[in-house]
């Protein structure tokens, strides 16, 4: 074994990590080599001396300072989590959420209305209906929904107008009848025939 090889294995020898054979070989080399023996002695002493080095201690204020740092870290974390909550559930976010909900609701309602319109049954126009339809009777497939609705509303307006005129006329008839009733005694006395009511 060379001095260099001895040097390379010296820590393993001191740390008791060599096999018994390698250990014996090291001891034999130390016995026959002066430099190896000195090195082994110095290294043993150094290793032992290092374990006896006094342990340095931090200052008295170390714990207090560390504790304040820890508390600050905790406070910062809590503040961060609060900030995150505020961002996600703050007033701006609430407004945005409400608007989004309104838009979604609006779109949903539009779809429902469109579905209902499309589900209105299309009736085959008959000769009776022809009176009220703007266009002549057409096959059901040719009548589009919007046109049908338009026609229905016009029909409704026409009926309304008719009813209004009827009510006006009936009012007028009532007035005439009343006048006749009021005048009847006088007419009777004057021997005048009742005036027939007609349009």
């Amino acid at each position: 074994m060379t001095y260099e090889a001895f040097e390379e294995k010296i820590s393993a020898y001191l740390d008791d990590e060599l096999s018994p054979i390698a250990r014996t070989e090291m001891e034999r080399k130390a016995a026959e080599c002066e430099d190896c023996r000195v090195l082994l002695k110095d290294m043993k002493a150094l290793k032992e001396r290092l374990t006896r080095l006094p342990q340095a201690q931090p200052s008295a204020g170390f714990n207090f300072e560390l504790r304040s740092h820890l508390l600050m870290a905790v406070a910062k974390e809590n503040q961060m989590s609060h900030r995150v909550r505020r961002v996600f559930f703050g007033s701006t976010m609430r407004t945005i959420t409400t608007l989004a909900a309104a838009v979604i609701l609006g779109l949903g309602l539009t779809n429902v209305v469109q579905d209902q319109i499309s589900s209105i049954p299309v009736v085959q126009a008959t000769a009776e209906d022809a009176d009220f339809l703007l266009t002549p009777a057409q096959p059901a497939s040719a009548i589009d929904h919007r046109g049908a609705l338009e026609r229905l509303s016009q029909q409704s307006r026409r009926l309304d107008g008719k009813l209004y005129r009827n009510s006006q006329d009936s009012g007028r008839v009532d007035t005439m009848l009343n006048r006749q009733k009021r005048m009847s005694p006088w007419l009777k006395s004057q021997d005048v025939k009742q005036i027939p009511v007609s349009f």
Binding site: E7, E8, I10, S11, A12, D15, E17, L39, K41, D42, M43, K44, A45, L46, K47, E48, R49, L50, T51, L53, P54, Q55, A56, Q57, P58, S59, F62, N63, E65, L66, R67, H69, L70, L71, A73, V74, E77, N78
Partner: protein, 203 residues
């Protein structure tokens, strides 16, 4: 939500048990961890960076970083090793920062007379007064070792860690660590011998 309450009587709880309390938000449980590792960590970092204030700052930062990661404790197999890894990395960063600053200062010193003056590391009366000369000389000899050797010799011979633990801390194979420790010891022994100092190496 974290809470701050006082709790005593931990007894001989393991690191994992205390860390479970910490993960649940109990800062005072973390005090037990600090008490357990403060001395060893400080000793290691102080001997690594050779400056008391810097060492304190690094140890504080180590505990703070470990605390911030308290939600990940379950994934950490060996807490003490992890602490030493953080501290070691911070210490290395500090040494590199110093080296850059020193280079910058020297450069400025060359250019003009207004450059920063480097502190004289050879004469430190505060240190002489604080400890025995021999301890101080060994400390200085360790401080003069290359960074990688200094770290492993401190962990192995001063902190008494196993090669496996050191390998985890320095993130190297065990064989590399063993080789580094051997070289570090040889260099240190050579250094002390060359300087002719009687540091009590005689057994």
């Amino acid at each position: 939500m974290l809470m701050v309450n006082s709790k005593s009587g931990f007894g001989e709880l393991t690191d994992a048990e205390i860390l479970a309390e910490v993960a649940a938000g109990d800062i005072d449980a973390y005090g037990k961890i600090v008490g357990r590792y403060r001395g060893r960590l400080y000793n290691f970092v102080f001997r690594f960076v050779s400056e008391k204030e810097t060492a304190e700052d690094i140890v504080q930062e180590t505990f703070l970083r470990a605390f911030r990661k308290r939600k990940e404790y379950k994934a950490i197999a060996n807490f003490s090793t992890w602490l030493f890894t953080i501290a070691g990395n911070l210490a290395k960063s500090e040494l590199r920062r110093r080296k850059r600053w020193r280079l910058f200062s020297l450069h400025r010193d060359d250019e003009s007379d207004t450059g920063m003056e480097l502190p004289d590391e050879t004469y430190r009366p505060d240190k002489v007064a604080e400890s025995s000369l021999a301890d101080d000389q060994i400390h200085d000899a360790i401080a003069s070792l290359p960074e990688n050797y200094r770290q492993v010799i401190l962990l192995r011979d001063v902190e008494g860690m196993s090669y496996q633990e050191i390998a985890e801390i320095v993130d190297c194979p065990v064989g590399t660590v063993k080789s580094r420790v051997n070289r570090a010891r040889l260099k240190l022994q050579q250094k002390l011998k060359n300087e002719g100092r009687d540091v009590g190496l005689e057994v």
